[in-house]
């Protein structure tokens, strides 16, 4: 009973917040509703008694959206609306809804055919984190390590891109000369 009420509440809130993310013209509303939606998604994990995954969702996406905020701060004036080229919200709504529906059908169709069965049933007595760890380090060890390697590659390339001339000052030599000339004048 409570679970169903909570499920529908979280569903409506999540979909509503993500709709705001897509449709709004204000960068601050978009980012805030994105963050709120991510937090509500963790509610589904808690409903399914996957506490660990729920908390991980919370921590990871709070940090991730925080980084997005930083970019929004650099590129936009957060208190003003953004001028968009396509002004038709109905078109965005229709296309987004259709794509979402298609995705749902694609993923649901094979599952609807036969009854859902868990491939790796949870082990008796093992906690949430232990179950995730067991599957991650036995069945899915290779994808897990490959993902870790990809993140490492991304991090190193990021450092190289950003840190090429970190020892030099950001003001170029010409700027310094111009400044000096202005002082002399």
């Amino acid at each position: 009973m409570y679970e169903q009420i909570a499920f529908y509440l979280f569903s409506v809130l999540t979909i509503g917040l993500f709709l705001v993310t897509v449709l709004t013209k204000n960068i601050l509303y978009a980012m805030t509703s994105l963050a709120g939606g991510m937090v509500f998604i963790s509610g589904f994990f808690f409903l399914l008694e996957a506490d660990f995954l729920g908390v991980v969702q919370l921590i990871v996406y709070v940090g991730a959206v925080m980084a997005l905020y930083a970019f929004a701060m650099m590129f936009f004036d957060a208190t003003r609306d953004i001028k968009e080229n396509t002004t038709s919200n109905y078109l965005v709504f229709f296309l987004g809804g259709m794509i979402a529906l298609m995705l749902v059908i694609i993923f649901i169709a094979p599952i609807m055919g036969d009854n859902i069965q868990s491939m790796y049933p949870p082990i008796e007595g093992a906690g949430n984190a232990q179950s995730v760890g067991l599957v991650l380090f036995t069945k899915y060890l290779v994808p897990f390590e490959v993902a870790a390697l990809m993140l490492l590659v991304a991090m190193i390339s990021g450092i190289i891109l950003a840190g090429k001339k970190m020892d030099n000052s950001l003001t170029t030599q010409e700027d310094i000369i111009i400044e000096k000339e202005e002082i002399i004048k």
């Binding site: 509303y29 963050a35 937090v39 506490d51 660990f52 908390v55 980084a67 701060m73 949430n128």
Partner: protein, 342 residues
């Protein structure tokens, strides 16, 4: 803990617990401002509040009346909705984080009270088995309050404040996570109750003796997490007026500070449960009393540090977290793992 079976936790008990946490922690937050001013004054050879009531005690009431009756100003160009909900985010997440830490001891409401009599009120409102991660995640989400407040208020000091929030978050978060990893490996659980039971007995069992590095790292990251000096970049008066809180007044401003004090208490509880033996009995001192002593000590430590140390710059915080504390935490994890394997 005891062999006696604990009574069943009812939803009524949890609701009562939630109300108790809300009221008492809010009151402590108000009282905390008085204590903070008195202790800072004592350390800096001043008197602090003296005029209102005995020892200036009624200063809390005066401040409260001021906060409640002050005009609620919303700046002209601000994003009104976000500006209004930002303080609520800070206060709400601080109290949600308190839901899954043990705050006061279990007790049963006496029978003679009508309706509520006989209800069992648990020590933890929501006893989930990933308690530590949940608390840290919620406290991290609390930083959305300053971030949104700064961005919504159409004020340059506010924008600087929220940019510093992002910097602070990206700096300390990795240190908090890595520093508690080593104790978690030792205990083998993410539940605060398991942490408490792991350290039952004499004070030689406390995790601080096994993990002194992790304790210091967690404490430093905790200072950054609660925006206490020396890491209060967000509202550093000398540099950015009041940072994210520049345009706020009245109760909305007050909510930021209730949230901040609630977070201080949460960090104090986490540090005492994870490293200092939690709410186990120590000799002849009862458990519920010893944890209040520990929490008070950490609260005092935060004020002590504030009185003793200057602020640091944002780049110094990043340097400290990424170049000093994170390698230390990694080395600590490696050594712990090697010792555990042998």
């Amino acid at each position: 803990m005891d062999a006696t079976v604990l009574p069943e936790v009812t939803s009524l008990g949890v609701v009562i617990k939630a109300i108790i946490i809300l009221t008492i922690i809010s009151a402590i937050a108000g009282f905390g401002t008085y204590i903070e001013r008195k202790i800072l004054a004592f350390m800096q050879r001043r008197l602090g509040p003296t005029h209102v009531g005995p020892f200036g005690l009624l200063q809390i009431a005066a401040d409260g009346i001021k906060l409640f009756t002050q005009e609620d100003i919303i700046p002209q160009n601000a994003n009104k909705l976000i500006f209004q909900i930002a303080p609520a985010i800070t206060a709400a997440t601080a109290f949600i984080a308190l839901a899954s830490v043990p705050v006061f001891p279990d007790f049963i409401i006496p029978e003679f009270i009508p309706i509520l009599g006989g209800t069992f009120v648990p020590s933890i409102a929501a006893d989930i088995n990933v308690g530590i991660l949940f608390v840290l995640g919620m406290m991290a989400a609390g930083l959305y309050g300053p971030l949104l407040a700064g961005m919504a208020q159409a004020n340059k000091w506010g924008i600087i404040g929220s940019a510093r929030t992002a910097i602070q978050f990206l700096s300390y978060e990795v240190v908090t996570g890595l520093s508690i990893l080593a104790p978690i490996m030792l205990v083998g659980s993410l539940s605060l109750v398991d942490f408490n039971e792991y350290q039952a007995g004499e004070f030689t069992e406390w995790l601080i003796w096994q993990q002194p590095v992790a304790f210091v790292l967690f404490l430093i990251a905790g200072f950054a997490e609660t925006n206490r000096t020396p890491f209060d970049l967000l509202e550093h008066e000398a540099e950015v007026i009041s940072g994210y809180a520049t345009e706020y007044s009245g109760m909305r401003w007050g909510m930021f500070f209730i949230g901040e004090y609630a977070n201080m208490i949460t960090v104090a509880i986490l540090a005492s449960v994870m490293f200092l033996g939690g709410y186990n009995d120590l000799g002849f001192i009862a458990g519920w009393f010893i944890i209040i002593l520990k929490i008070s000590f950490f609260f005092f430590l935060m004020l002590w540090v504030r009185a003793s140390w200057p602020h640091i710059r944002p780049d110094q915080l990043m340097w400290l977290c990424w170049k000093v504390l994170m390698p230390l935490a990694l080395v600590n994890i490696l050594i712990t793992a090697i010792v555990m394997m042998i």
